[in-house]
Symmetry: C2
Subunit: 610 residues, 2 copies
């Protein structure tokens, strides 16, 4: 309920307080990260620690590390990551800001040649950052060497005023009332700003004193390693956000009763309606599924890192495609699921204190940043087409595409389900998902081959390619969930519940994408109907443990921030108490009554001064 | 960017100003309604004119009309519609507020016996209304006669303070930063508040001086007539809201360029990507489709009204089911579509000045009010099951269910599509949608018959029943669009464009619900693939006229309220100018810098006073 200015000031206060505690408690970097994440509000510190420092670490030389990192670690400088521009987001290679080398002074001249080259969106840029890693086209002589990173000071360390040649400000209000409005996403223009040559991040490429552009032998693939890392954390975060929304909707569905009173008894709990279950329980299952695939991605990142250190790049393209796809799929599903959970809370879900509107508003940018979700899926599709094209060549597909090595089997296999309970077998589910994903990829490849220009074909068929990529990503999540269940899982009966959820996850996807499965002849319409029948039985099995399954996420009421989702279920009392806290209730007669309501009621409106 | 209090005061100001103009210009009721709707912000006047007055008109006696309507028309009193309670929304019969007749004083005692009986949500109640139509359980003697409406004064006409026994206030912040926060959705509790007997709305039922409950011979079905009217306006509004979002996304997609630059030329317009087209053009087609079905609903309402006047209730159940279904389907699709349009605008869609976040926030309650969308679809499903069960009885299905009369044909027909262009024939599309809807209903009926208790069956199969209801509603929209195209349509080439959109609308639904069509054997997988192929060709045909098709909605830039959707396409300049208007940009150094940022930078955080 704060105005933009007050909200922003409050965010600065929280960030300062968090930093004070981090220092006082001598927290490790990881502990500090957790403390900040529990402040649970976007702030400039996210970019300083999450983007500015990693960019210098990843792209800077040893020398640059020594100069900049100690200051950054102590926050003597505060940095942001100035990549996207007004005119360019996804297409990084199209950025327009220029960094022209001036051999006379041994400097780069950073400049914004057009309106659309204005830096736009970087968090922390608008009002706080003293420095930025700025991405700009490197120009030496008359030659354009593409986009590189440069460390640029933006504001005076004395009085925080922008340095000469720099225009900087906030880009304005965003979705929601809180959400990212606590962040100073900024705009930035350069008017021939000069920086020393040694502020270009020079780990991979260098410009010499003479203005010669040189590339070192550091493998460029290292960049992919970082991407795998960042996207893996996004998948974990998706699971957390989804779990939070599902926890609220599930608890409230157990408290809320509507219709179905018999003989004056209580009405039916909303969670007992099959319509509610069929929308809610697949989301609950997805929260667990994303958690497990997130855990597996952590392993994948460790594996990739180890291989990189041994100069083994063989699994990198597959790992990159896999994390791109999972980032896209899990965040898209989570964004929609948060809104679906809000709807599942009925009218009261529309109240801010349900926690769901702001959870939605703060979550949805995840679908755009670190790779637009559609662009990422197209990358996955491209990788799948490449994998398919190499199938005959003896090059064996690896990792999450290994199933494509069993091409003949997957093209011929027929689902053997005869009774609904046959759908409970993990091997049956896995084969259906593998066959569907594979056949969709093959169908795309076949249609692509009809085009004389493959790029035209890729563009024309891109909607189908997206669907094939999604089928592949869903298969990954299903298969990793099944693998998880093959391990020991502590706690009596826990494994059984997780098995039920795994089946819910797979079968709800099968029902949702029934057209895919049936038209590729992976299953028959009859088998589809049996799957749907089994799904309904599974919902009944989830029901008794639904509350426990969300309690297991272990969110405190404070962190959950939802009146509807509170642990003790005392929803109505809390709704009533919260209402009175609205500023509109400060006075019985509202501000504006005398000027604007009284003249209407008393028929004085013609003479009222409005 | 206003605080809640300032936003609310501003809304009062606009409402007063609108009322002043309405009086000065002597506007008719319809013109006044239009003026208010163009203020384009939820306000207490919506409820006064849209619910309070209609409730008195519809449920009051002549005598009550004479007493209350003149005051209400002059706004000497301002009213709201106090139906929903903290504990009850959809289940109106479960309301807990009581109105107990006291024969001693000839009064009703209005009382809130429980916390959950608190009135909750009524717009205009929180801070403004002087009166309310309150729905409460009528109790005479010891008998409960169910829920009835009562006119209750809430606030003093002298100083606006709540009358004795009345607790009233605002329920707090809602989704978004503007949206419904301009409305004083309220809470209300009664502590034995007494009103004269003649303030019960007595058109349909009466309580005599002796406390006897009497029902007049006014047909109860009249209520349905009003519901048909209200829901018809909601469908029209859905089309408007959807058109607004689509207009923004389409225009911006033509301005935005990303990737695909060849030889240094401009990059590709985003609207030229098939992935963008496959998401955007079906929404454009839906906006037109909903407009035409909305126009048809206007006719339906006129027809129903005429029949009611002649005491012909025969078409009422079908008309009621049809409008319930269309309200549900069009509002659900529109809510999702607004968010999809936001995503189609990429990162910049997340900015408030794109217009899309607030359009979403202000639209989504439509899915809940005037009947929760899931509850409504279940009503449709119930009607469909009843219609199916009567098929053998000789009772012919009427109106939008008339197709069910051709049961034998619809169960046997096979789609004759052999080439992609066969899918352009309206008769082919219509038959496929009819057969699919009918077979899904029949399948549900068959599965229902396996349950010994039909209510258990209905409850267990409700997810399938929802899908059958949706298939039926989609058929209605498709068929009304096709009917529209059989009429004369002025303007050279306009009809051709509308035909293309009609095919896009139908074929994108067919692709989305491919599982339905194939598993019911309405079409073969091959025919599904041909439909998808035809759909891609249609997108290419929509493309050249896409901008014209959204310009045709004829929204002014002012009404559209979107930087991204402005008519002249000067998007980047406007984004840049708008940014500077944010309050955070009032000062170069932000408020809070000295207290919270400077101490961090200067390593004084340990001693800072936070």
């Amino acid at each position: 309920m704060l105005s933009r200015k007050d909200l922003f000031k409050d965010t600065l206060r929280k960030a300062a307080h968090a930093w004070k505690r981090i220092i006082e408690l001598r927290l490790s970097e990881e502990e500090a990260h957790m403390l900040r994440s529990y402040v649970d509000q976007p702030a400039f510190t996210d970019l300083h620690w999450g983007m500015f420092i990693p960019a210098i670490k990843g792209q800077g030389t040893e020398e640059q590390h020594e100069k900049w990192l100690p200051m950054a670690y102590k926050m003597q400088i505060i940095g942001c990551y100035a990549q996207t521009e007004l005119g360019h987001g996804s297409n990084v290679q199209g950025l327009e800001t220029t960094a022209t080398f001036d051999p006379q002074t041994d400097e780069f001249v950073i400049h914004s040649p057009t309106l659309t080259s204005s830096k736009w969106w970087p968090g922390g840029l608008g009002k706080v950052s003293t420095h930025a890693v700025v991405y700009a086209r490197l120009i030496t002589g008359a030659q354009d060497h593409g986009v590189h990173g440069f460390i640029v000071q933006l504001r005076s360390l004395d009085d925080h005023s922008p340095l000469p040649g720099i225009t900087v400000g906030d880009i304005g209000m965003k979705f929601g009332s809180g959400a990212y409005n606590s962040m100073d996403n900024g705009l930035l223009r350069f008017d021939h700003v000069r920086i020393p040559r040694n502020q270009m991040l020079m780990r991979v490429s260098q410009v010499t004193r003479e203005g010669k552009f040189v590339q070192s032998d550091v493998p460029r693939q290292l960049v992919y390693g970082t991407m795998v890392y960042v996207r893996q954390t996004i998948v974990s975060d998706a699971s957390c956000a989804l779990a939070r929304a599902v926890c609220i909707a599930t608890r409230y569905s157990a408290v809320r009763r509507q219709f179905g009173s018999q003989n004056g008894g209580p009405e039916t709990q909303v969670i007992d309606y099959k319509t509610q279950q069929s929308r809610l329980f697949p989301l609950l299952a997805s929260a667990y599924a994303f958690r497990f695939v997130g855990e597996w991605l952590k392993w994948l990142y460790a594996d990739v890192t180890q291989r990189l250190q041994a100069n083994d790049f063989s699994t990198l393209p597959e790992a990159h495609a896999c994390t791109a796809g999972l980032k896209s799929m899990t965040t898209s599903v989570t964004a929609d699921a948060i809104e679906e959970c809000r709807k599942l809370c009925g009218g009261h879900g529309y109240l801010s204190n349900s926690g769901l509107p702001e959870l939605f508003a703060v979550y949805i940018p995840t679908c755009t940043y670190e790779g637009d979700n559609v662009v990422l899926l197209l990358q996955v599709a491209r990788f799948l087409m490449k994998t398919v094209s190499q199938l005959g060549s003896g090059k064996k597909p690896v990792g999450t595409t290994a199933y494509m090595g069993r091409a003949e089997h997957l093209m011929q296999c027929r689902c053997e389900v005869e009774r609904a309970e046959d759908w409970l077998k993990p091997s049956v589910i896995l084969e259906a998902f593998e066959a569907r994903a594979f056949r969709m990829s093959i169908a795309c490849a076949k249609n692509l081959s009809k085009f004389s220009n493959p790029e035209d074909g890729f563009s024309e068929l891109s909607p189908d390619l997206l669907e094939a990529a999604i089928a592949h990503c869903q298969l990954i999540v299903v298969s990793k969930y099944i693998e998880k269940l093959q391990q020991d899982i502590p706690g009596k009966g826990v494994k059984r519940q997780l098995e039920i959820l795994c089946n819910v996850y797979a079968l709800h996807l099968l029902h949702k994408h029934l057209g895919d499965f049936v038209t590729t002849s992976c299953i028959t319409p009859k088998q589809g109907a049996l799957a749907n029948q089994q799904l309904r039985l599974l919902y009944s099995q989830v029901r008794p443990n639904a509350i426990t399954l969300v309690d297991a996420f272990n969110y405190t009421d404070h962190y959950l921030g939802s009146v509807l989702g509170c642990y003790n279920g005392n929803v109505y009392q809390r709704l009533y108490e919260e209402a009175w806290k609205d500023p509109l209730n400060d006075t019985v007669v509202p501000d504006g009554y005398l000027e604007y309501v009284w003249p209407i009621l008393k028929q004085h409106i013609r003479t009222a001064r409005l």
